[in-house]
Symmetry: C2
Subunit: 154 residues, 2 copies
DNA sequence: ATAATTTTGTTGACCTGTCAAATTGTTTCG
DNA sequence: CGAAACAATTTGACAGGTCAACAAAATTAT
């Protein structure tokens, strides 16, 4: 017996992706606002700083792999951050193409300063959500992520 | 007794928002690819067409409210879509500022043509997800959405 | 009626995200 | 060695998204 697709597409908002897109926009606006008000950092800058806080030093390509961010965008962003005094670059001794990126003291200070706010935000976001529900949520996110990699449909 | 924040922020990828951002990028790429291959529509065009399929006729401001999209972006997009022959505009009789937007036959044909693919995609995305898990997922999305509207933190 | 306010839509400026081509340095292999 | 293949980064072009200023029309308040 044939059953209707679970979420019929009569309404655009029933597309999973519509809802996620709206959520994403809202989350971005919130984070961008907090960062701007408290540190002057952009969202991308904040993310790069967090990556480098973890990895101490990484090259553009490594970062691109880790966050799945576009190389081109990264290249430009890094250039700007070096000019703003947030990053230092060191050319690799063996391979002169690769630049190792490191945080400057200024970037570390800004990161320290923002961290409580960003953790408070994360806590606020998750406040009403039970551990079980959150686990289920992440499972679904992972499944969607996997399915979204598939490029041949119909 | 104090417990660690549920998701400690040692790793950037533990931010809910990191994961959602990556998922979003992947979903967008998938949809954009399908649309381009099968119809030449952009993602935004597809979304606007779906909104108008539901509402028959709507003004720019109404759409902006429905999808929470920027007025400026909409204005330009609509102009382009009128030029491409996807939309018609009709000036309101009572209020000469408002333009009612309607789909052209061409837009409806394209939408019909794409719909099976987009429904198949939606089905693929949700294939492995139980109804219960999906419900939980949507609940969490709604909670995140609400929390993301809060602008004063810390 | 008319001045002040609000609403609708347009425009300019600017940032982010994606794709592809170009550049430069490194490695592989005949 | 030297040509071809490969990898890291840069650049150009363009779509998407956000913000703020603006003009025109409508509403309201006096």
């Amino acid at each position: 017996m044939y059953t209707q697709p679970r979420s019929s597409l009569r309404s655009p908002s029933s597309f999973v992706t519509f809802r996620l897109a709206k959520l994403q926009a809202s989350l971005n606006a919130q984070a961008t606002g907090l960062l701007k008000a408290n540190s002057g950092l952009s969202l991308v800058e904040w993310r790069l700083i967090q990556i480098l806080r973890m990895h101490k030093s990484a090259s553009l390509s490594e970062i691109a792999r880790i966050v799945q961010m576009d190389k081109g965008q990264l290249s430009r962003k890094i250039k700007a951050m070096v000019e703003k005094g947030l990053l230092r670059t060191e050319t690799d001794k063996q391979d002169q193409r690769v630049q190792h990126l490191k945080l400057t003291a200024a970037a570390k200070r800004l990161s320290e300063k923002m961290m409580p706010t960003m953790e408070a935000r994360q806590a606020l976001l998750l406040a009403d959500i039970s551990a079980d529900d959150l686990a289920t949520f992440y499972e679904v996110v992972d499944k969607l992520d996997k399915a979204s990699k598939q490029r041949n449909i119909a």
